[in-house]
């Protein structure tokens, strides 16, 4: 288990007990025989509390886990799941957006095109990668990679982890909406399998641009939402303090998405979140992606596209009344 530096707000009571436990352990047990008993009692209490807390995280708590700075990032998945990786850079129009990864990689013997939002692991890297929020160039690079995949018959594996497309002046002036829409149109008709993995944040249109396909696998604590809970709170309550409430109302968790027929599969995370045991999570995701690819590679291309479009057409159709 990895040592975790960043403590989330809802974990503070447990961290406080753990500190008390550490203090007790530093005392001389031989001098006070009842101390050993006290330590054992506290240890089991902490275990029970952890079980109770982490087995029933609220949607808002899951959003915080999804945003945890030490959570495995797209680059971790690329490095762990794929061999013979070749990175592709640039949108062939303006520049290269480091908030978006694109490249080739081989997973379990299957050659793939890999795309994904790329947050940084520290402040310097985050600044370079714009905290994982792409400009239009990022989406255009991703689209370029999608078209390569189609042309050369390679499946696409996409990793979602963004707070959203970057709301900047230049991003707008260079056609953020156009770049996203073109990705959607391309994905909708792409004649090759597309497997999407929600690994952290799935922030609105910036996530959706590379965020749908033939299979959507969600990590247990990843979220995918039309709007951030804070922004929804600001709009609906005129106050950002109701994010916990809007996070629940938005139905943005992995389990919600399965229930709504949008996600196919949930990959369980270790107690406390993916950052507690990244190796375990990387292996579980590899297995899930590998299974999905094997399933989809046998499907004729036309049928794949027909099925994908039929599935999209059905989303929401059951919720209208005429």
């Amino acid at each position: 288990m990895a040592a975790v530096r960043h403590v989330m707000e809802f974990e503070r009571p447990i961290v406080e007990l753990e500190r008390q436990l550490e203090d007790l352990k530093r005392l001389d047990v031989s001098a006070q025989p009842e101390l050993a008993e006290e330590i054992a009692r506290l240890e089991s209490e902490i275990e029970m509390l952890k079980d109770a807390l982490y087995s029933a995280l609220t949607p808002w708590e899951r959003v915080q886990v999804a945003r945890h700075p030490e959570r495995p990032k797209t680059q971790d998945y690329v490095a762990a799941l794929f061999s013979e990786v070749v990175e592709l850079r640039g949108d062939r129009a303006y520049g290269d957006d480091e908030a978006m990864f694109a490249g080739f990689g081989t997973l379990d013997g299957v050659r793939c095109v890999v795309i994904g939002h790329r947050k940084g692991k520290n402040t310097a890297e985050n600044i370079r990668r714009n905290f994982g929020s792409p400009h239009p160039e990022g989406f255009r690079k991703a689209r370029r990679a999608m078209l390569l995949a189609e042309k050369f018959g390679l499946p696409v594996v996409s990793f979602l982890d963004t707070a959203g497309a970057y709301p900047g002046i230049e991003a707008e002036e260079r056609g953020q909406a156009w770049a996203i829409a073109e990705c959607l149109e391309t994905l909708a008709g792409l004649r090759t399998p597309v497997v999407v993995v929600g690994i952290g944040e799935g922030g609105s249109g910036g996530a959706l641009a590379i965020g749908f396909g033939d299979r959507l696998i969600m990590l247990e604590n990843a979220y995918y939402s039309v709007i951030s809970p804070e922004m929804a709170s600001l709009i609906l309550f005129k106050d950002p303090q109701h994010a916990a409430e809007t996070a629940s109302a938005l139905r943005l968790t992995a389990a919600d998405l399965v229930e709504l027929g949008i996600a196919d599969e949930v990959v369980q995370e270790p107690r406390g979140g993916a950052h507690r045991d990244p190796a375990l999570v990387l292996a579980a995701v590899e297995a899930a992606v590998s299974r999905a690819l094997r399933d989809l590679l046998g499907v004729p291309r036309d049928e794949l596209v027909t099925r994908r479009q039929a599935r999209l057409a059905a989303i929401g159709a059951a919720f209208v009344r005429e």
Partner: protein, 307 residues
């Protein structure tokens, strides 16, 4: 929608009603309106005759979906489709207030069942499917119904070999339907793809304002993109951009005119010329069944060879 409802909806438009200082006292309330562009007092009848474009400064005031459609369609040809479709509140969403109440209030206020109106019509004599969004209905946000109606519009146009002309005005995705709303972006983009693959033309008209998940889905995938003068169009709203970047926004940021300069819109077309411009574009794009004579004229085939 019966015509009487349309008139009722028309009466409920948001205007700044000016106190009729210059008008005689016996005129009924609301006959004189103050233009938000030039602050002139305008006679309501003149404004309406001019499609809500100020005769003094050309400022474009909000139009309802029906006003937009009737202004585009050839006289008497518009026939609405999917008119009664409503949302069933898929998430049973409640935050601040129940979504069901928001929906009911929007229906009451506008006389519409949802934020988009679609139908068949002729435009400049061309068979088309028309659509227009109505900003009064929860900011014309796109949820399950808007997504479904837009998708059906494209599928219907494809099946019936019609062009599509769509006028947008929307704040973006309907947050009260959560991920169902977000997925409508993909759903409508997929519908455009199917339609476009059939070789049929799509003309979009971006109205004020068009933002978020609506901009970034079906409209900007059009073959020809027009916009109304002064329309604000973008992905992120200007306030969010300003707050995120802590920079002051350039003059004309996200206006239709600046989008033409940046290469994302083909033309800014005044409302009073819109029907005519759309018809002219369709004259070019609806002629894909090339007659033999025209084919010969464009690219002469040597006669008597090989046959």
């Amino acid at each position: 929608m019966p015509v009487s409802d349309w008139f009722r909806a028309r009466e409920q438009r948001r205007y700044t009603v000016a106190s009729p200082k210059t008008a005689s006292a016996d005129l009924p309330d609301g006959v004189w309106l103050k233009c938000a562009g030039c602050k002139h007092t305008v006679y309501r009848g003149d404004l309406e005759k001019n499609l809500n474009v100020c005769p003094h400064c050309g400022h474009h005031t909000e139009l309802t979906a029906f006003e937009r459609l009737l202004a585009l369609a050839d006289d008497g040809t518009f026939e609405e489709t999917d008119a009664t479709m409503t949302s069933t509140d898929p998430l049973r969403f409640t935050a601040a207030k129940p979504y069901a109440e928001t929906l009911a209030a929007a229906r009451e206020k506008t006389g519409l069942s949802e934020a988009v109106v679609t139908g068949r019509a002729l435009v400049g004599g061309h068979p088309a499917v028309l659509g227009a969004m109505d900003f009064r209905f929860i900011g014309a946000s796109m949820g399950s119904v808007v997504g479904e109606k837009v998708s059906r519009a494209f599928d219907r146009a494809r099946d019936e070999r019609r062009a599509v002309v769509f006028v947008t005005a929307s704040g973006g995705a309907r947050m009260q339907e959560g991920m169902i709303s977000l997925m409508q972006m993909a759903k409508t983009a997929a519908a455009v793809r199917r339609f476009s693959d059939a070789g049929l033309p799509f003309v979009a008209v971006l109205g004020n304002p068009t933002y978020g998940g609506v901009t970034a889905s079906f409209p900007v995938l059009a073959d020809v993109i027009l916009a109304e003068p002064g329309a604000m169009v973008g992905f992120a709203g200007p306030k969010l951009v300003e707050e995120t970047t802590r920079q002051s926004l350039p003059k004309g940021f996200q206006t239709a005119e600046s989008l033409v300069r940046h290469g994302f819109v083909d033309a800014v077309v005044p409302r009073t010329e819109l029907a005519q411009t759309v018809a002219r574009v369709l004259d070019y794009l609806c002629a894909q069944e090339v007659p033999e004579a025209a084919e010969g004229a464009a690219c002469p085939v040597p006669r008597g060879e090989g046959s």
